[in-house]
Symmetry: none
Subunit: 542 residues, 2 copies
């Protein structure tokens, strides 16, 4: 088996995606996900160019992965030792460093405005400096394929300059994303024929013609042994090669599965779908249903012909087993499959329902009707559990909400400063007694936290005999999406809550009114918490 | 130049997409779009299997495209003339008919439960019957690639049975989507070597490994002369080969551009982006930003290095000219952007700032400081423009907001029903005059639309002398996400607005309070609209 290395650039090229801006804690969480998956390198960002990137390297988690800082080859006219861009990259103190440099003559003259010789010198000296400082050096050969087509001799000289200076890897980059797979294969073969060893070459593709995965595979077929890519194909313009697609392709499909080994443990593939969706969660993006391997539709068999054959043998219409990549089969046409799916889901929440129980059909149509109105139960497990218990008659009526009122006012205070104040009044009924509670929404510094927070504070302030059960509860996340409920756009709110025992649960609310949707999710959150401890027991503990 | 035929199956395989169900008028509109684009065949559906498909063929528009009905080869034990499935397909009266049949021995025994000879006979007789009835016959060889790997002899026999019976085309289908491009190329070459002429072979791929486009190109390289695909890559599971990607690849990129001609007029490529978005409109889907060629991010240059080079020459970071496919270049503002990016961005909004003007530095640090607090200017172009004009002293003080108040109340009405009512009061000052306006937020059916809508209605109700300028303005989208502003979680709201002239613009607001954040974005939206017409001119037009 030959070793193939995976280099992830989600935190660097992935951050070039339009609309994506990771915070430092988000970068740390993504690095931990990549470590769990088993990639070989994490390119964490460009220290010095970006404050969050510098902060990430300072706080970077301990992982088995080789942490890599990204930067640029030195400028002409300055020594590598005195180049401030290189110095910032060195200061990140990562074991590996990846420097991007020009290899296309047109870019050397047009974008940099220096001579071809100066550029070669910049590559050599920058790489040599990193090596002298004890770093594993990578060289990203920018625009390599376009460069090779324009001036093959020069492009190859750049590659060899980096290799001769001690670069562990030279990564051939199709920066503009326009090179088709067959061309990539041909050009890689020429590079190897020129004396560059394949096990020191990498490939970096973009998806501008939807060929980023195919181009990466063509480069591996031609001899490279490192692939650069990103989770969910994030990246500049149309994105980079999608590692979430490449990894199962390399591990599960021939000729790759029996030719190469990677750092990814085949058993870790079950994390692939959850990891892909967690990233979408961090970005507050709707997961792409049609995504290969991990999309909700990737193993959905809608055609009647397909669905009936799948029942006989899943391999009739599936190229891999969905369970292997942590995904699941969906047969939307078959009510039977729906019910067995549902029973499995109920078992996960500790509810056992016999096969054939008519409550299953009722539950399924209730879930479907609500999903048509914009609800989603994929992530809001706690709301799903409440819905199921309600259909089964297992949901106690803990409390009732009589009414609520929230007001948000922006005005000038006595000192003439513009301030915003939110106030909420909630009237609940517990054991026939009306409880009225009111709350403002201020953080410790006296700043207003908005209407949802005000509502939560009022609701959680006095819930009569249940109060002791929710005292340790707090809201930890709040996600809002505008979605389609029937023909109207509605707001979907998902609230994540946590309690003192570290339990975390998610609930959902849907309405045209964002405050109403939030309130529904809040009430579910409290109700789910009350389900966990029977009231009598909670009271006995008082 | 060799002729390459494009066969669109958006209306048949595309309808297998999870969540997609076209109505007959929608099918007609899509057929007209395909005609405008210039594909050769439209597969309109399966008459008899689907009522909307039968209705579509009855009402199908007159096009230059060869309309094709889809069906299945006859069952064993019935003559082609007496097979009711074939009869329904014939009744659609299309000039061409495409019949799917098995070519994988395992499927013949497992899914059909008949002998291999019976299946060959079904293929021959069904195709011959269509030809005898004067139709152009196509045979979709289902699971051909898996079949070839399992039993090469038999798979090839099926192909030749269809060809010998008079099929104009035999389409090699990778039904499960698991065959990689290199394998597709090798197998197609073997089929041609067996005596099947390439100009009677087609390719049908799925995107289960993200290789549908690459697999189609590999088949063309190996000799097939028909490609089947769908608009926007719709289709079963992960979708079919995306014609919106394949068409510009074939027309603009080598070796295809100078080797093949298709029915698509190169000048019709400017319709590509609008057609792709119109289809999303019909499906009520958000267009995929990272889609090759047509996505909003396909020519967005976020990296500072890229943006500065683009200013010198767009070909430095673009593989094709966005205008050719009806798309446009975007240089978003972001944390990564430098001053050149900023100048370019300013020029797009009609603001010229000399290189070296200190206002650029001030603007950049203002943008960065705001992005640290949670703002994003990638998509909120209008808010970016206002911020720039403010730094340059070019932003008139149109109006001032003195205060606002919103209340949301949920209670029982006189009939005992639970209702929610939102009310907003906004006090603005125009030319020293205070204007107070109040509004509820009800849609036509009397349902509450929430606090943001109430605020918008109150703000847009009376803005004194500016009222005529915002009368035609409406909110078209509203996006919310919780993000990190410094150390605190804050809410970011992006609002898309539109006016009567079809202009569309986006603004952003950030606050711990979602209503405050929304209000900030609303005020920006109104202010940007007021910038477009100088007040004097607007007043003169009254």
């Amino acid at each position: 088996m030959e070793r193939l290395y995976l280099y992830d650039t989600t935190l660097r090229d992935g951050q070039q995606t339009q609309g994506v801006q990771f915070s430092t804690p988000e970068k740390i969480r993504i690095a931990e996900m990549l470590d769990e998956l088993g990639v070989d390198y994490i390119e964490g960002g460009w220290p010095g160019a970006n404050p969050t990137d510098s902060a990430f390297f300072e706080a970077a988690p301990e992982t088995r992965v080789t942490m890599t800082a990204f930067g640029m080859t030195k400028r002409a006219g300055v020594s590598a030792e005195n180049d401030d861009v290189l110095a910032a990259v060195m200061n990140a103190r990562t074991p590996a460093v990846c420097l991007v440099g020009k290899t296309h003559d047109f870019h050397v003259s047009t974008a940099l405005g220096i001579t071809l010789e100066e550029n070669l010198d910049n590559i050599s000296r920058s790489v040599a400096h990193m090596v002298a400082e004890g770093r594993e050096a990578l060289f990203d050969a920018e625009h390599f394929f376009d460069g090779w087509k324009a001036n093959r001799e020069y492009a190859l000289e750049c590659v060899h300059a980096a290799l001769n200076a001690g670069a562990r890897w030279v990564v051939l980059c199709d920066t503009n994303g326009g090179t088709l797979p067959v061309e990539i294969g041909d050009i890689v073969r020429d590079v190897i024929a020129s004396g560059a060893p394949g096990d020191r070459l990498g490939i970096h593709t973009h998806n501008d013609t939807a060929n980023a995965v195919a181009g990466s595979l063509a480069a591996v077929d031609a001899g490279v042994r490192q692939i650069q890519g990103t989770l969910n194909g994030l990246g500049e313009r149309c994105g980079n090669a999608n590692l979430v697609t490449l990894i199962p392709t390399l591990l599960l499909k021939e000729p790759y599965a029996s030719t190469y080994e990677t750092g990814v443990n085949p058993e870790a593939l079950v994390n692939l779908t959850p990891i892909s969706r967690q990233l979408d969660d961090i970005l507050n993006r709707v997961p792409v249903k049609q995504a290969p391997f991990v999309g909700a539709s990737a193993f959905a068999h809608k055609a009647g012909l397909h669905a009936s054959a799948i029942l006989k043998d899943p391999s009739t219409y599936e190229h891999v087993d969905p369970a292997v990549v942590g995904n699941e089969r969906i047969i939307p046409m078959s009510n039977q499959a729906g019910q067995s799916n549902l029973r499995r889901r109920l078992e996960e929440t500790g509810i056992t329902v016999e096969k054939g129980n008519p409550a299953l059909g009722e539950m399924l149509s209730e879930v479907k009707a609500r999903e048509d109105r914009g609800y989603t139960y994929d992530s809001a497990q706690a709301s799903f559990e409440l819905l199921a218990r309600k259909v089964l008659g297992q949901l106690p009526a803990f409390f009732e909400v009589d009414r609520y009122r929230v007001s948000i006012e922006r005005r000038r205070n006595a000192r003439g400063e513009v301030v915003t104040v939110s106030e909420a009044v909630v009237a609940t009924i517990v054991d026939g007694q009306k409880i009225l509670s009111v709350s403002e929404s201020l953080d410790e510094a006296g700043n207003d936290q908005g209407p949802v927070n005000a509502l939560w504070t009022a609701l959680a302030k006095d819930l009569g005999k249940y109060q002791c059960q929710i005292d340790d509860m707090r809201l930890v996340d709040f996600k809002v999406r505008i979605t389609q409920g029937g023909t109207e756009a509605v707001t979907r709110v998902i609230i994540d809550s946590e309690d003192g025992e570290g339990r975390r649960w998610s609930t959902v609310g849907v309405s045209a009114n964002i405050v109403d949707a939030s309130f529904e999710a809040l009430v579910d959150a409290v109700t789910w918490r009350l389900m966990q401890v029977p009231p009598a027991q909670a009271l006995a503990g008082e």
